[in-house]
Amino acid sequence: MKSWKINGALDADGAPITLLIENGILVETLSTSAFTEINAQGLTVLPGLVDLHTHVREPGREDSETVLTGSQSAVAGGFTAISAMPNTLPVADTAGVVEQVFRLGESHGLCDVFPIGAVTVGQAGEQLAELSAMNQSEAKVRIFSDDGHCVADPLVMRRALEYVKTFDGIIAQHAQDPRLTENAQMNEGEVSARLGLKGWPAVAEEAIIARDVLLAEHVDSRLHICHLTTAGGVEIIRSAKKRGVKVTAEVTPHHLLLTDVEAESYDPVFKVNPPLRTATDVMALREGLADGTIDIVATDHAPHPHEAKDCEWSAAAFGMVGLETAFSICYLTMVESGLMTLATLIDRMSTKPASIARYQDHGQLKVGRPANLLLVDLEARWTVERSELHSKSKNTPFNGMELPAVIEKTFHNGALVYDRRGM
């Protein structure tokens, strides 16, 4: 294993810092003189980013992404840990499938791939999956979600929340009332009325959040709300937290920037579940992330093959890729806009997600802990070019945009897994 000395960088608070890495761990002093020195003048060093919502598509949909390409995309975006959502083929609702995904991630050795297990068998919303077995497997699953689908039956949701208390688990809800969103295409509002696309009302998301927050309160269990998108949702979470409910929430980078007006082009690259909402919602989400009502940023990286987006809107798949643009978009919308400091952004993108998921090796730069970190040039700018993305799929809504913050290097367990100049 190589040893490293990283010199001349600044940390998240802007203070100069020197880092020493030996045997994959951050150390006080190096015991060897055979180390590689990195001159990080002008760069900032940050703990590796942690994503709690990634769609890796393997097993079953390898035409859009694999654990390998997903990991390559992740480290290019500065992520040292991602969490693979279970809506694969077969669904990750057994110990066998989650272990397969976990081992694949390990074998590629680029970043940690922590599988998320399904809440119900086949994500059908009726019968609880073997949550305990998944937790006890090699993958040590702690977060469960039927993401892609809502756990709509209140009784099933209640039981799931109660059951995971056994092992300090979390149920991550994809809040979408199925009856109110049948065949819905985009946010319900002025734009959808004009464009003739079936609307997805905010209440379909908020009603489920409100219900689940009350359930979590009632059974005293940990609830996580995936991809929050509305001002109303932020309000519900805020008042729930005030009452002491154990709820956490995430927001995606695209929901911090884009609105439903993008649909006017009828370009399906903007079609996503949950949909892009209004400017008012975007502002509320930013404020919520700034004041901590929303705990973390999560990408909901959703790769789709070209054919799934190269058609008319109503026939197109929902989803956008986001691992490689996440940090830049968040830096643009939250730090450059003055809503928060870089240190707070790192809390939202690294420390807090690691804490929620109990990923002990991630979320902080601390002597004695594994070296999971990234070097970023905050002053530099880059233009998103979809053909250059490391992900197998190219469905990014930011193609052609100029963004701040260029990620130079990413380290995982002390190994250099991404080097912008080298790769």
């Binding site: 319900e188 509002g189 002025e190 734009v191 959808s192 009325a193 004009r194 464009l195 003739g196 696309l197 079936k198 609307g199 009302p201 082009s265 009828y266 370009d267 054919e307 799934a308 190269d310 058609c311 008319e312 809107w313 109503s314 026939a315 197109a316």
Partner: protein, 297 residues
């Protein structure tokens, strides 16, 4: 173009050599025939492509079909599709380089219908001259799912008419306030004040999705029946884009009354579509200009 249709000449050589393709992904004999008649009266060649029932799945159809049409040298494609935004996709993606005419996309727009409606109104109420300032139009029925309503609201307002939408709340889109039109839940409140009553078709299937409880209740509250027709202004007219559900949104008396201009709408449809085709294909198209430039260099 309508004057040309009235005159004894039925055919003009203007679009000779141009190929127009009717690309209809949804059934519509009426609109398709109207476009076909318009194209043929201008001596264009017409190819009919009905994709309904084709084995290609959704999504694939549009792009692959477009590439085929490009290979066939279509100068214009008239497209009717069940997905809102499909014509935009076709025009934007450059799978083909011809003109794209929207003959109705999902619940979004049906521009030539609005044009022929406005033309019909102008003929009757404005002596075929100028704009529609001061004309009051009531659009009655399933506004939520109606592309005819959307296109008409846009065009009528542009021409200066006053529009009131009449429908049960379930059939009005959230966000309709931004359309800057009046809204009423009662046809009786507006019927004696308007110059045009435009009835929209209401699909019986909407009852299954709980948009209204029964056909009887819908018809009783929103149908154009004999009494309501009697209470209309003297010169007011009744319009309908067709096809009609006689007995549901419009009674037989309504459809056949002297106020009804429904049949004339159809004739005007051909003239309007001839005008659209002439404007898009009669002069130099971008292809013509490109080859002219090519020939010069």
């Amino acid at each position: 173009m309508a004057k040309l249709s009235d005159a004894s000449v039925k055919k003009f050589p203007t679009l000779r050599g141009r190929t127009v393709v009717n690309l209809f992904f949804e059934d519509s004999t009426r609109t398709r025939i109207s476009f076909e008649a318009a194209a043929k009266r201008l001596s264009a060649d017409v190819i009919n492509f009905s994709a309904k029932g084709s084995s290609l799945s959704k999504g694939e159809s549009l792009k692959d079909t477009a590439l085929t049409l490009q290979a066939m040298g279509a100068d214009a494609v008239i497209i009717r599709h069940g997905s809102s935004g499909a014509p935009h996709q076709l025009a934007r993606q450059r799978w083909m380089s011809g003109a794209v005419i929207n003959a109705g996309d999902g619940t979004h727009e049906h521009p030539t219908q609005a044009l022929l409606d406005a033309f019909t109104i102008r003929r009757h109420l404005k002596e075929n001259n100028g704009d529609l300032n001061g004309v009051r139009v009531a659009i009655v029925g399933d506004v939520l799912h109606s592309r005819v309503a959307r296109s008409n609201v846009l065009l009528l307002k542009k021409l200066g008419a006053e529009v009131v939408l009449v429908a049960p709340p379930t059939l009005l889109p959230v966000g309709v306030e931004s359309w800057k039109v009046k809204v009423s839940y009662s046809i009786d409140d507006v019927i004696s004040d308007v110059d045009v009553v435009m009835m929209l078709r209401v699909q019986r299937e909407r009852m299954d999705d709980l948009f209204f409880p029964t056909e009887r209740e819908y018809s009783r509250n929103f149908g154009l029946n004999f009494e309501r027709i009697q209470s209309m202004k003297e010169k007011a007219i009744v319009m309908h884009p067709g096809p009609m559900n006689r007995g549901l949104e419009i009674s037989a008396d309504g459809a056949d009354s002297a106020r009804s201009v429904i049949v004339e709408q159809v004739a005007n449809g051909v003239s309007v579509r001839m005008a659209v085709l002439y404007l898009l294909l009669g002069g130099a198209t971008s292809r013509d200009l490109a080859s002219q430039i090519g020939a010069l260099s």
